[in-house]
C-alpha cells in the first residue's frame, strides 16, 4: 500500500464529530466577495511561535507574507511541494491574480493557519480557537473562506 493510500485508509477509522443543524451561509456574489484562506498546514513566520505537536491555536498570516514555514508535525505527507511553490498549499498568489482580474472582490488582509493534527475530540477548535478565528475574519470583512489541508 502506498503512503497516501495508507493515510487515507487510516483517516476513515478516526472518530468524526457530528454537527446537527449545520449552518449554511449563502455568500454575496464572488466578484464582490472578500476571500480568505484558512489552512491546516500549520504555516507560520519565523517570528511567530512555532506550532507544538499538540497545538490547538492559530497564527494570522499577513496578505503580503510569503516567507512561511510549514509547521505541521505529521511525517505522513509530502513537504517538497510546498518548498517548491507555497501556492500548492496556500494559494495566495492565485487569489491575488483572481482579485486583479475581478473574479473575486478582494483578498483578505489576513489569512489563518491551524495545525491539522488536532486532538480527537477537536473541542478547542470547535468552541475556542475556531470561533476566535471566525470572529477575526468577520471583523476583517471576510465573506468566503477557502480551507486547504495538507
Amino acid at each position: 500500500m502506498s503512503g497516501d493510500q495508507a493515510m487515507r485508509s487510516h483517516s476513515g477509522t478516526l472518530p468524526a464529530p457530528e454537527f446537527s443543524d449545520a449552518a449554511f451561509v449563502t455568500p454575496k456574489p464572488l466578484a464582490e466577495a472578500t476571500v480568505a484562506i484558512v489552512t491546516s498546514a500549520a504555516l507560520h513566520t519565523a517570528a511567530d511561535d512555532a506550532f507544538t505537536n499538540t497545538d490547538t491555536s492559530y497564527r494570522a498570516l499577513d496578505r503580503a507574507e510569503r516567507n512561511l514555514k510549514l509547521g505541521h508535525w505529521s511525517p505522513n505527507f509530502d513537504r517538497n511541494g510546498f518548498a517548491i511553490d507555497l501556492n500548492v498549499v496556500y494559494p495566495i498568489d492565485r487569489l491575488e491574480e483572481l482579485a486583479s482580474a475581478g473574479v473575486i472582490g478582494d483578498v483578505a488582509a489576513k489569512h489563518y493557519s491551524f495545525a491539522g493534527n488536532q486532538p480527537d475530540d477537536v473541542a478547542t477548535i470547535r468552541i475556542d480557537s475556531g470561533p476566535a478565528a471566525a470572529a477575526a475574519m468577520v471583523a476583517e470583512g471576510v465573506d468566503i473562506v477557502v480551507l486547504t489541508p495538507v
Partner: protein
C-alpha cells in the same frame, strides 16, 4: 478542515473545503467541499502550475452556487503520489572516520544553503542546519547499540522534531540536486528513506528505539507510518 468549516459557517462565513480525504469529508459533511484526489501535502495539486491551481480554486468557488448542503463536488483529475525515488547527485565519501550519514550530511550543506537562499526553509524545529550532522551522529550511536535515553542526548530532546529537521534538511537540499520537472509527491520521501545514508540511519534508529522499549510516539512518528 471540515470541522472548521462548520464553525466558520456558524459565524456567518461561507466556506469551501478542499478535501484530500474522502472518508473524512463524507463523515464530517462540511457545507461545501471539492474533493481532490491529489498527493497529500499538495491540496492545489501541482506546484508551479498556476493555471491548474487557478482551475482548482474556480471549481471550489463553483460549489458556492449550491443552495443547500452538504454539497460535495469532485475534481475530475486524479494525481497519484510518486513513490519512485528522485534521481539525485550525492556527495562522495569524504571523511572515512565519520559515520557515513554524518559525512553525507556535511556534503549536502552547500546544496541546502542554495535551496534556503531561493525558498527559505522549514528546518529549525529542534535545531538548524548546523545541528544536522551532530543529530545524525546521535541516531547512528543508537543504531550501534546505545540506549536512546540512558546513553545519548537527543538534540532538542524530541526525536520526532529531530527527525523532521534531518529529513527536511535533506529534502530541501535535494531540490538543488535534482533536474527536470518538480518531483512528484513522496518522490523525495522515497529518496530520503530508501537511498540516503541519513534516511537508512533514521529508519534503523527507529527500529532500535522500538526494540529498546521507547514510548510509541517517540519512535513511530520519526518516519511515515507505512515505513
Amino acid at each position: 478542515m471540515s470541522v472548521l468549516a462548520h464553525v466558520f459557517e456558524a459565524a456567518g462565513l461561507a466556506t469551501v473545503v478542499l478535501s484530500s480525504m474522502k472518508d473524512v469529508v463524507q463523515l464530517v459533511a462540511p457545507p461545501r467541499a471539492l474533493h481532490c484526489q491529489f498527493p497529500l501535502g499538495r491540496p492545489l495539486g501541482k506546484p508551479l502550475d498556476a493555471d491548474f491551481q487557478t482551475d482548482v480554486l474556480m471549481r471550489a468557488f463553483a460549489t458556492l452556487a449550491e443552495t443547500s448542503g452538504p454539497a460535495l463536488h469532485e475534481h475530475p483529475e486524479v494525481i497519484e503520489a510518486s513513490e519512485e525515488p528522485i534521481a539525485c547527485q550525492m556527495p562522495a565519501r569524504f571523511d572515512p572516520n565519520l559515520p557515513a550519514a554524518v559525512d553525507e550530511a556535511n556534503g549536502m550543506r552547500k546544496a541546502y544553503d542554495r535551496s534556503v537562499a531561493k525558498r527559505g526553509t522549514s528546518v529549525g524545529r529542534s535545531f538548524d542546519a548546523d545541528g544536522v550532522p551532530a543529530a545524525l551522529d546521535v541516531f547512528h550511536q543508537i543504531v550501534e547499540g546505545a540506549h536512546w535515553k540512558d546513553d545519548v542526548k537527543i538534540p532538542g530532546k524530541n526525536t520526532v522534531a529531530a527527525a523532521h529537521d534531518i529529513r527536511t534538511y535533506y529534502e530541501e537540499a535535494a531540490l538543488e540536486l535534482v533536474e527536470g520537472p518538480p518531483p512528484g509527491g513522496r518522490a523525495a520521501e522515497a529518496w530520503f528513506f530508501e537511498t540516503t545514508e541519513a534516511g537508512k540511519t533514521m529508519l534503523a534508529a527507529r527500529k532500535a528505539m522500538e526494540a529498546q522499549g521507547a514510548p510509541f510516539g517517540f519512535w513511530f512518528y520519526m518516519a511515515p507510518g507505512h515505513r
